[in-house]
Amino acid sequence: MMKIKTPRNGRVRRELEKRAPKLVETGKKTLILQGTKTSGILNGVLSEIYHLKKGGAVRFTRKNDNIRPFESGGETSLEFFSLKTDCSIFVYGSHSKKRPNNLVIGRMYDHHVYDLVEVGVENFKSIESFTYDKKMAPRVGSKPFIAFVGEGFENVDELKHLKEVLLDLLRGEVVENINLAGLDRAYVCTAISSNKVYLTHCALRLKKSGTVVPRMELVEVGLSMDLVVRRHRLPNEGLRKEAMRTAKDQPKKKIKNVSSDAIEGTIGKIYIPDQKVGDVALPNKAKGVKRERREAKKKEANERASKKHKEESE
C-alpha cells in the first residue's frame, strides 16, 4: 500500500526543487563540524572558514564522537548530516596527541563520501591579528581569485589532490556574469615543501595603470596558515568517472517569436500593441489645440473664483 506525498506548501516545494539534482550545478554548501576534542587554534580555524563562506555553509558546534572519516564505519553520521543539510563538502576538525590540529576536508557525491584529505594546521594567524585599512576589507560572498604556486602541486600526488579540494572549497558559486567592481579578495596557496602548503587570504587593491587592466596589489588580511598533508583518500575509479560526467547537450532555451525558414532564413515576429490615438500628444501645436487650452484654463479660473465666493459667503 503506497501513498503519494506531495508538499502542500509552495515554500516546501521550492526547497525540494533546490535540492534536486540539476543538469548544471551551482556552488556546493559546506558543513563544518568538530570531533571529540578540539583545540583553541582549531576552533578559530573552523569559525573563520565559516565566516569566509557565510552564504553557503552550515556550522555544527557540538562534538561528534562517532565520526571517524577514514574508517569504514565512521562515515554514516557524516552522510546523514550531508543528506539533511544538503551539503556536499565538509570540514571536520579534531585534535589529538597523534594528530594535533587536524582538519579533514572531504567531498560527497550523492551524499556518500567521495574523497578525503587530512591536513594539519600550523602557524595559524586569525583575522583579528592582522592590521589593515578597514575600507579594503573584502565583502562577504564575493567571488575570489585563487592562485596556486609551486611545482609540488603538479608532481606530488597528495598536493594535487589537495589543490582540487581547496579549489572546490574556496571557489564559491559558479556564475556566468561577474561585476568587475566587486572583485576584492584572493587566496594564495604556495607549496613550500613536498607536503606543506602555505595558504593565505588577501584583499585586492586595484591601482590605476595605463591600460584597461588595473594593477593588482595584495594586502594580507584574514587567515593564514600552514597546511601539512597527512593522509588522503582518492575516490575509486568507477565513482570518479561517474562524478566527472557532464551533460553534453544543454537544452537550448527557446527564443520566442523567432522561427527559421528554408527559403527566407530566420524570421522574427514583432507584435505591436494597439495605438491609443486619443492619448497621443500631437506633434505640431495646431492652432485649435492652443485655443482649447486657453479656454480650458479660463474655465478653471472661473470655477475656482466661484468656489472662493461660495466659501466666503459661508
Binding site: M1, M2, K3, I4, K5, T6, P7, L16, E17, R19, A20, P21, K22, L23, K28, R107, Y109, D110, N123, K143, P144, F145, I146, A147, F148, V149, G150, E151, F153, E154, L167, D168, R171, V174, V175, N177, N179, L180, A181, G182, A186, V188, T190, A191, I192, T200, L204, V212, V213, M216, E217, L218, E220, S224, P235, R240, E242, M244, R245, A247
Partner: protein, 333 residues
C-alpha cells in the same frame, strides 16, 4: 625563484596556477616567506586579471559586467545527473497509436446556460449536479437511481486514475527518476490473509501481554534480567498459599483452622458474625428513602424507568431481607 611564462589560467574559476615555481631554499624568516608567496601570487592574479578585463563587458548600475567563460578545470559533481522521466503508460500507448496532444481551451461554451464556463473547477461545464432530468432507457433496471449511478461511475473513474498515477510513479521510482516534489510512502505493512487492518493496542493491553510473556518461563520470570526502567511485575491472579507438609496438630495448626472456616461457613454456626448489621441497616434505610421519593415523583411524572430498574434490585434485596427482618424480630423479642 625562476618562473617561466606560461601560467595555467582558468578564467571561469578565476584560477591561476604556476606549475614551474619552486623555492630553491626555504627563506629563513617567516616574513620573507610570506612576502615571497605574495609576490608570486600577485603575478598570477595579474595574469588572470589581464584576460578577465579584456573580455567584452556591458555597463551595469554597479559597474562593468563581464560574461565569464565556462570553467576549464573539471571538478566532480555533487549529485548524480538527473535521469529523464520514463514515459507513462498513456504516453507509450499514444506514441504507438500516433495520437497527438491537443491543446485544450480554458473555457468552453455551455449549451444549457448559454455562457462560457470553465473546463473544470467551481462553475464548470457538464457538471453532474446541473443535470435536471435523465431519460430512462430500455436497458435500465427499475429500482436504480441514475444520479447516484453517475456519481459512482465518476468515483470509480477517479480511483482508477489515481491507481494508474501511482503505478506510473512507482515505475519512475524504480528507474530513479521520481520528480523532486513527490515522495512515495508506505501506509501500512503488507497484509496476508484477511484484509482487516491491524488493531491498535492500548498501553494497558500491551502491559498485560508483556507481563504474561515475562512470567511464562520455567521459573515464572523471577530470575530474568530486567531492562533499565522496567518495573517489577504486578501480582496478578490468585496467589495460593500451600500448607506445609508436616505440621503439629495443636492450636496453631493451620490445616485445622482452614477446615474449620469452611465448615462454619457452610453450617453458618456463627451466623451473627456472617451478618454485617451496620450495612444491613443502611441498606434498609436507603430502600425506604427511595420508596418515599418515588411516591413523590409519581405525583409529578410517571416513573416507568424506576419501575424497570426495580425488579432486578428486588432479587438481591430479598436475600438480604431475611437478615434484617429476622434480626429485627429477634431484637423486638
Amino acid at each position: 625563484m625562476e618562473t617561466q611564462k606560461p601560467f595555467q589560467v582558468d578564467v571561469g574559476n578565476l584560477l591561476a596556477f604556476n606549475p614551474f615555481h619552486n623555492f630553491p631554499s626555504l627563506p629563513t624568516s617567516r616574513d620573507e616567506l610570506v612576502k615571497g608567496c605574495l609576490e608570486e601570487g600577485t603575478k598570477l592574479i595579474q595574469a588572470v586579471a589581464d584576460s578577465l578585463f579584456n573580455l567584452p563587458s556591458t555597463e551595469d548600475v554597479d559597474g562593468p559586467l563581464v560574461k565569464l567563460p565556462p570553467p576549464t578545470t573539471k571538478l566532480p559533481r555533487e549529485k548524480h545527473l538527473p535521469k529523464p522521466k520514463p514515459p507513462t503508460k498513456w504516453e507509450e500507448f499514444a506514441k504507438k497509436k500516433g495520437i497527438q496532444k491537443r491543446k485544450k481551451d480554458k473555457v468552453l461554451w455551455d449549451e444549457q446556460t448559454g455562457t462560457w464556463k470553465r473546463r473544470f473547477g467551481y462553475d464548470r461545464v457538464n457538471d453532474d449536479k446541473d443535470i435536471p432530468i435523465i431519460e430512462a432507457k430500455m436497458t435500465d433496471e427499475p429500482g436504480e437511481d441514475p444520479f447516484a449511478k453517475r456519481q459512482d461511475d465518476k468515483k470509480k473513474r477517479v480511483e482508477k486514475q489515481e491507481k494508474n498515477r501511482l503505478q506510473n510513479l512507482k515505475q519512475a521510482a524504480k528507474l530513479g527518476a521520481l520528480p523532486s516534489h513527490v515522495q512515495l510512502a508506505a501506509t501500512a505493512l503488507p497484509i496476508t490473509g484477511t484484509q482487516a487492518p491491524p488493531k491498535k493496542v492500548t498501553k494497558d493491553e500491551l502491559g498485560n501481554v508483556a507481563g504474561m510473556a515475562a512470567t511464562s518461563t520455567a521459573s515464572g520470570g523471577k530470575f530474568d534480567r530486567k531492562l533499565l526502567g522496567e518495573k517489577p511485575a504486578k501480582k496478578q491472579g490468585k496467589h495460593r498459599k500451600f500448607l506445609p507438609v508436616v505440621e503439629g496438630s495443636g492450636i496453631g495448626s493451620r490445616e485445622k483452622e482452614q477446615t474449620e472456616n469452611v465448615l462454619n461457613k457452610l453450617i453458618s454456626k456463627h451466623s451473627h458474625e456472617i451478618l454485617n448489621v451496620g450495612k444491613a441497616v443502611t441498606m434498609y434505610n436507603v430502600k425506604k428513602e427511595k420508596k418515599a421519593r418515588n411516591r413523590k415523583n409519581q405525583e409529578g411524572k410517571s416513573s416507568s424507568t424506576s419501575n424497570k430498574l426495580k425488579p432486578k434490585k428486588q432479587l438481591h434485596k430479598k436475600a438480604a431481607k431475611k437478615g434484617p427482618e429476622s434480626s429485627k424480630k429477634r431484637m423486638a423479642k
